[in-house]
């Protein structure tokens, strides 16, 4: 088991390296650099001064050298400074991660629980009205763009019914209270959760159906084991294995959804930070955020693989 974990960790390192290279190349391709952000029309600076400053900062070195300098700094925890606010990026990112984690975590939890339960029930009662209804609902859930869902939910619950607030993480100028935070969390988390629930429901249903037709279940029934135990002890356990993979694979998509939802609901997380950075051409911020989100995805993939190895002993010997 430890060997498997170590192997996976080892494989992740070149992956991480590849990611940093791609991010660096992309960011470098963007027009402008650290100095163009500081030069405005009101404060024109002579070309030679700019060139000298560039070589002072090491901006005229070649791509591989600059890349290595960047990585070196990253390993020391220095992500640079934002072009716009001049605040160290690491600080800003750390401050904005908890809201996004809260949003993603809650919606993931809701969608896993509801999706799994509905998927299992749907598979057990295959071809019933219940199953058919859920299948169609599942399809619809898959087909709604997350921003349209968000807007519709705001329309119904905030504007028409006035039950829930339209944006933000808490009521402005009020002290933090958990109830207030949760009230603000409901709509954004629900928008993300509904879509993910549809995905998980369909995959769970497919996986359980797949397992239900297995020979070993037929053997178990032939032995006289109660159906309840056949399903609970044998079928579900084996059906859960691919589900773990699916959950893991869905994490990058959750990040994308979070970007859109945070924009609509003005949720102060890293998604909103990213969009603002892109619009303001804040290169270091863009690089830092792309890196952070990729690392989070990498870490969760690793976690998923390890959990998978726990659940399915066959994997450990590959």
């Amino acid at each position: 088991m430890t060997k498997y974990v170590l192997r996976r960790l080892l494989v992740s390192i070149p992956l991480l390296l590849g990611i940093t290279i791609i991010i660096f190349i992309l960011a470098d391709a963007m027009p402008g650099d650290a100095l163009t952000a500081m030069v405005t029309d009101e404060a024109p600076i002579a070309g030679e001064v700019l060139a000298e400053r560039r070589s002072q900062l090491g901006l005229d070195k070649s791509l591989p050298v600059r890349y290595l300098i960047w990585v070196g700094q990253l390993l020391r925890g220095n992500m640079g400074y934002s072009f716009i606010t001049s605040v160290p990026i690491a600080e800003t990112v750390l401050r904005r991660i908890p809201p996004t984690l809260e949003l993603m975590g809650v919606s993931l939890l809701i969608s896993i629980i509801i999706g799994l339960v509905l998927g299992i029930l749907s598979a057990l009662k295959q071809y019933s009205v219940f199953d058919y209804l859920l299948t169609v609902l599942g399809f619809i859930g898959l087909s709604i763009p997350v921003f349209f869902l968000g807007m519709t939910l705001i329309y119904i619950f905030s504007l028409r019914l006035d039950w829930l607030p339209t944006s933000g993480m808490g009521t402005a100028a009020a002290d933090f209270s958990l109830a207030d935070n949760l009230r603000h969390l409901i709509l954004p988390a629900l928008s993300l959760a509904i879509l993910r629930t549809a995905v998980f429901m369909r995959y769970t249903r497919a996986s359980v159906l797949d397992v239900l037709g297995s020979d070993y279940l037929r053997t178990a029934r032939a032995k006289g084991i109660k159906e309840r135990l056949v399903v609970g002890r044998h079928a579900l356990r084996n059906a859960m294995i691919p589900i773990i993979t699916i959950i893991g694979l869905n994490l990058p998509v959750l990040f994308g959804g979070a970007v859109i939802i945070e924009t609509i609901f003005q949720w102060p997380g890293i998604g909103l930070l990213y969009i603002t950075a892109v619009n303001q051409r804040d290169h270091p911020m863009i690089m830092g955020l792309a890196l952070v989100s990729s690392i989070v995805v990498l870490a969760s993939n690793l976690l998923t693989d390890i959990t998978y190895a726990f659940a399915d002993p066959r994997i450990r010997y590959e």
């Binding site: 898959l142 329309y155 504007l159 619009n279 792309a290």
Partner: protein
């Protein structure tokens, strides 16, 4: 024996002459018949065909242009004059929704064409030749899969600038991993089958094996994956345009029409501006998903036996 009888006795086929399948039904006819039985898929197909029709004939369907400003009538609701009302600058919403369909559908198709091509090529090489090329391609696939797609696409667009073509390329460049994995899996499986071993023993060239034997068996799952890919691509384009990083106004896209409705006032009091494009996205993606599901059942290799 008469000549006729001789002929019936002698009805031995020449070696190498192709035999007719019973009833003259090929693979695709059978698949189509099974597809037809799938109710939801047929509904999806009908809706999609309607949408494609609307998209192609968009300019002539409405008396108004999608670009002309009608300022005196701006931000007004559905009326005789403007069937779905007007947006903030007086453009006819119905015409814009129709034209937006063109944008969304074409982006979906082109992006999927790109991603399927890349996926089939890379997956095929990895699956057929194995060894180091397989490992290298799988590493690349892993790296691309780890990136949150929207984040990378947003970054790409920030580099090259937002436009409809860049959107197509960006989505296509990031969506090929599922197809590649699929094709690789199929190639690995088929390569170990006996008929391939036999072909290689006979000295058949690699390229011939791939094109005449392995690829035809891979088409089924690839078509299904491509269909679902179109749905995903349409959703991604809508998302990008919604964030302002996709199709730029004044060209209408269902996504950027929703972007224009981002104020609370419009949201509450002028639903005609955002509900129609949103519903169109849902309906088109839904019908494509239904079709994909139907195709998957129809082309399921297990039921072709």
């Amino acid at each position: 024996m008469t000549k006729e009888q001789q002929l019936s006795l002698g009805e031995v086929r020449q070696v190498g002459e192709p035999m007719e399948a019973t009833g003259g039904q090929g693979l695709w006819t059978k698949a189509w018949q099974r597809f037809r039985r799938h109710r939801l898929a047929m509904i999806g197909l009908i809706i999609l065909v309607i949408f494609i029709f609307l998209a192609i004939f968009a300019p002539v369907l409405s008396p108004h242009s999608a670009f002309k400003l009608d300022l005196p009538n701006r931000a007004s609701g559905p009326s005789r004059e403007h069937w779905l009302g007007t947006d903030g600058t007086g453009r006819d919403i119905f015409a814009r929704v129709m034209l937006g369909g063109r944008v969304s559908l074409s982006v979906g198709l082109v992006a999927v064409a790109i991603s399927t091509t890349i996926g089939v090529i890379l997956g095929g090489i990895a699956g057929y030749f194995g060894g180091r090329s397989d490992m290298a391609i799988m590493r690349i696939t892993d790296v691309v899969m780890t990136f949150p797609p929207l984040i990378i696409i947003i970054t790409l667009v920030a580099v090259v600038g937002p436009s409809i073509y860049n959107t197509m390329f960006a989505i296509g460049l990031l969506s090929w991993t599922a197809t590649a994995r699929l094709v690789r899996g199929q190639f690995l499986y088929l390569r170990s089958q006996e008929f391939v071993t036999a072909a290689r023993c006979l000295g058949v060239r690699d390229s011939r094996i791939i094109f005449n034997h392995i690829l035809p068996n891979t088409i089924g799952p690839v078509v299904v994956a491509a269909t679902f890919g179109v749905a995903t691509a349409i959703l991604m384009e809508a998302g990008l345009s919604f964030l302002g990083l996709g199709v730029q106004p004044p060209t209408p896209s269902w996504g950027n029409m929703l972007r224009d409705a981002q104020t609370l006032t419009i949201l509450e009091t002028m639903p005609w501006m955002w509900v129609p494009p949103g519903l169109m996205i849902v309906l088109s993606v839904l019908s494509i998903n239904f079709i994909g599901d139907g195709l998957r059942d129809a082309l399921d290799p297990r039921s072709l036996l």
